[in-house]
Symmetry: C2
Subunit: 282 residues, 2 copies
């Protein structure tokens, strides 16, 4: 299935600008509304998720999570699975705790509940992606891929996996789990590791010299407000927002073919069976 | 059981300044921290509740709720009871929907989960109170009273019931449900209905000419921030914060004997059976 060719993207530079972590704070949501860029994904369990319902032009996915890593705000699982929660009832604070404790059947029920909850807001879900890489545990990756196929949604699937602090034992089965799908892959760009004062230049540099491809640029833009500052990495989030308001960065973005997950989803569905997987034989 | 006499409050003017709706926004929590007044109650299901854990000098209760009335932020029930949730999975937006739909057994499970969740944060819960009066349905009022007694916690129990838009059929059974306990009652003061520009004067007037009694002053102070302004009544919340920072209002408050629910709870527990109710015979 060569979706990119079918969509007329072959030989072009296509760009999805993707806003992660929507719903976690008002500062994050308001940056989304202010920037006017359509694509992002929302924490189903977040208090601010309902504010994203009913927007025209939204391209909103479900930001599947098994972690809630800050002191506050914190998220609870939507389902009752005891393996998904810390002693206070919230999602685990760290990846390591998720990987150690999470029962895969409870993960699957929770991920379904998270996708369903975004639909229940009246949001026409366009894709799924994942928070903090909890899906890198191979059996969880298998669920992640399978749910995308069952829901007939594209998922954020990096063309190249980067194994930040990934247990060695995960690598080969993870490759196998992600290799089981023919869903399209994207080249991921993310400046998150850079210092806030270097962020604008990172964007300009990263966008300037790319060859043809389908790029998924991850950002976490949030306003610099008293609430936004409660996240420990607020300065990187504010730097993302500043960079994406910058004239040169916007001009560089405008040189790409803009792409949304809605377009990808709808192109996929055009030849996707109503039931069943898009597997190696599709 | 004449608790007020036992506590040495007879003939005095005692005042609990009570911060409602903690946890719902950062703006609400930060006002609590800034004002330095110890007493308030927190929504167990709110994203910001964990920020109130580990405070020294806190006097924090569980703000039991069955409603989530704003577009965002919204709260979900902690338990799975279908009668407690709207089609998108959140607590009902209105009192009328709660009164129409809520199954009392599901309410009891939810209220227990809310109290337990505040304890699970490591907060030494000092009392329970209730949001928007959902407990005025008589069978729910019966649960509210019974849980306070089981948890050996004081509850916010007004000495005079004001029947705002209360169905006529509720009145007599509600009186009976609340009359079943000998837990102490308080005289409730609340300026919420007043215009923001009149709030300071309301506080000054309300506090100036009171006789002896135990008063529970309800406020909803929140900072005036972009996030705080998302609540439709943000201007009244900001006016509460302004009034409680006002020198004259603080001087009037200082003329009262300050009272916390922790003191009430501990005085109650001094002669409260480990098991069993504080009923008419206690």
């Amino acid at each position: 299935m060569d979706l990119w060719r079918e969509m007329g993207l072959e030989g072009r530079r296509a760009l999805i600008v993707h806003h992660d972590d929507l719903g976690i704070t008002h500062a994050q949501n308001q940056a989304y509304l202010d920037l006017g860029l359509p694509t992002g994904s929302v924490f189903a369990a977040s208090a601010w998720a309902p504010a994203l319902a009913g927007l025209s032009g939204g391209d909103i996915g479900a930001h599947l999570t098994l972690t809630s890593e800050w002191r506050a705000p914190r998220l609870r699982p939507l389902t009752a699975g005891p393996s998904l929660r810390d002693p206070a009832g919230y999602l685990w604070p760290t990846l390591e705790e998720v990987w150690q404790h999470a029962d895969v059947a409870e993960v699957e029920a929770e991920f379904r509940a998270q996708v369903d909850a975004v639909y229940a807001l009246g949001i026409d879900v366009t894709h799924i992606d994942t928070h903090m890489g909890a899906v890198m545990r191979p059996d969880i990756a298998e669920v992640y891929v399978r749910l995308a196929e069952e829901y007939r949604l594209p998922l954020m699937l990096p063309a190249r996996l980067e194994y930040h602090a990934l247990p060695e034992a995960f690598r080969e089965p993870l490759q196998r789990a992600l290799g089981a799908t023919r869903l399209p892959r994207v080249d991921v760009l993310m400046g998150y590791g850079h210092a806030p004062e270097a962020m604008r230049d990172w964007y300009a540099g990263a966008l300037r010299n790319l060859g043809p491809g389908v790029y998924h640029l991850i950002h976490h833009a949030a306003l610099d407000t008293p609430e936004g500052r409660m996240l420990p990495d607020w300065d990187r989030r504010a730097a993302d927002a500043d960079a994406l308001r910058d004239g040169e960065v916007r001009a560089l973005i405008a040189e790409f073919t803009p792409l949304t997950y809605r377009e990808i989803r709808d192109a996929l569905r055009a030849h996707w069976p109503e039931e069943g997987r898009v597997d190696g034989d599709a």
